[in-house]
């Protein structure tokens, strides 16, 4: 299962997914925000590029926890709503591997995946890849999820000295 954000996050996630052998990582599920039609199109184009394995994927929609410009009060409610959706979605899917790279959507999904592990329902391996934009500090999603991920990769080596749990294995995209 991979979580897509919008714009830059999706582009970086697609660059990562392109490096993987799709026959090893199958079936694939992509979590996208309900309003994110662009990412949906890009995923379909990505999947269509590999004829042998393209039938093994599906898109899962998650309501956004906060739209740009939304008030604080109503965003508390929509965050709870998104969180509930995320729990149901992860509970139904029970993925073996969760890939995320920092869009807001990935926080409730990763939290649900970690809850599944704590409850002994399913051990979901959570791999977080921080964006190449983050040179000196982690993103908010990264900071929140760092203690709970199985593997946390960064793309600039100096981040490792600041966050010892993070690993640098090279520039990935």
């Amino acid at each position: 299962m991979a979580v897509l954000g919008s714009g830059g996050h999706t582009a970086e996630m697609l660059a990562l997914l392109k490096t993987l052998d799709r026959s090893l990582y199958s079936p694939r599920e992509y979590v996208i925000a309900t309003t994110d039609h662009t990412s949906a199109q890009r995923i379909e184009a990505f999947e269509a590029s590999d004829n042998a394995n393209k039938s093994n994927h599906r898109l899962l929609l998650l309501p956004r926890s906060r739209e740009v410009g939304q008030s604080y009060g109503s965003s508390v409610l929509t965050t709870l709503y998104a969180m509930m959706h995320a729990v149901v979605l992860v509970l139904r899917s029970r993925p073996s591997l969760l890939l995320c790279n920092g869009p807001g959507t990935c926080v409730p999904i990763a939290a649900a995946a970690i809850a599944l592990r704590w409850l002994g329902i399913k051990y979901v391996t959570v791999v977080y890849v921080e964006s190449i934009c983050r040179v000196e500090s982690l993103s908010l999603s990264g900071k929140l999820l760092l203690p709970f991920t199985d593997h946390f990769l960064v793309q600039w080596p100096n981040l490792v000295s600041k966050y010892p749990k993070a690993r640098f294995i090279g520039r990935l995209c």
Partner: protein, 179 residues
């Protein structure tokens, strides 16, 4: 609000003013139009387009022999630089990681204009780091003309941007998951 990407073309006003050729890197040679490709995102849109189209910036470009300014306004879903031939100079006022990395992959000479009005602008972190590593020049709107003039007069030695390691992530995952 989303804007679909638009392209407009403008000739620098003094395009005919004595172009100084031969002082820049190899892919600028040739007799075709010398293109500046500029991308402008949706934030601070007016200020950046005004800066780009100011007499100061246009005459600096014209004096360096550039004959055409192509502007991509708004945001697209993909960085859409003209990929062949590579644009000789790219001015990036968009500063999204995508367009910066794409420009460097295409070996364009990159000038990134970061929005100094935004606090904690993490795109600025990336542009700043790449500037320090000599992969590109990072500047602010008010300094763009000066940066371009310096670039023309004394081009710095840019470091080529190494390609990403595409084997690292699949190797790492396969090892950790025992595949």
């Amino acid at each position: 609000m989303r804007m679909s990407p638009k392209r407009t073309s403008a000739s620098p006003k003094r395009a005919s003013a004595s172009p100084k050729r031969g002082q820049r890197t190899s892919h600028n040679s040739g007799s075709g139009p010398r293109i500046v490709f500029a991308t402008v995102g949706t934030t601070q849109f007016d200020e950046l387009t005004t800066t780009l189209l100011s007499d100061e910036v246009l005459s600096t470009l014209a004096a360096q022999g550039y004959t055409r300014l192509v502007m991509q306004l708004g945001r697209g879903t993909e960085p859409s630089l003209p990929s062949s031939p590579p644009p000789p100079l790219q001015i990036d006022c968009h500063a999204g990681a995508g367009s910066i990395l794409e420009g460097m992959r295409l070996r364009a000479i990159m000038v990134v204009v970061v929005n100094d009005a935004l606090m904690h602008n993490h795109q600025q972190e990336l542009a700043g780091e790449l500037h320090e590593r000599r992969h590109l020049l990072s500047t602010v709107p008010s300094q763009l003309a000066v940066t371009l003039r310096d670039l023309g007069q004394k081009p710095p030695a840019f470091e080529p941007w190494p390609p990403a390691d595409e084997t690292a992530f699949p190797r790492f995952l396969a090892t950790e998951l025992g595949l």
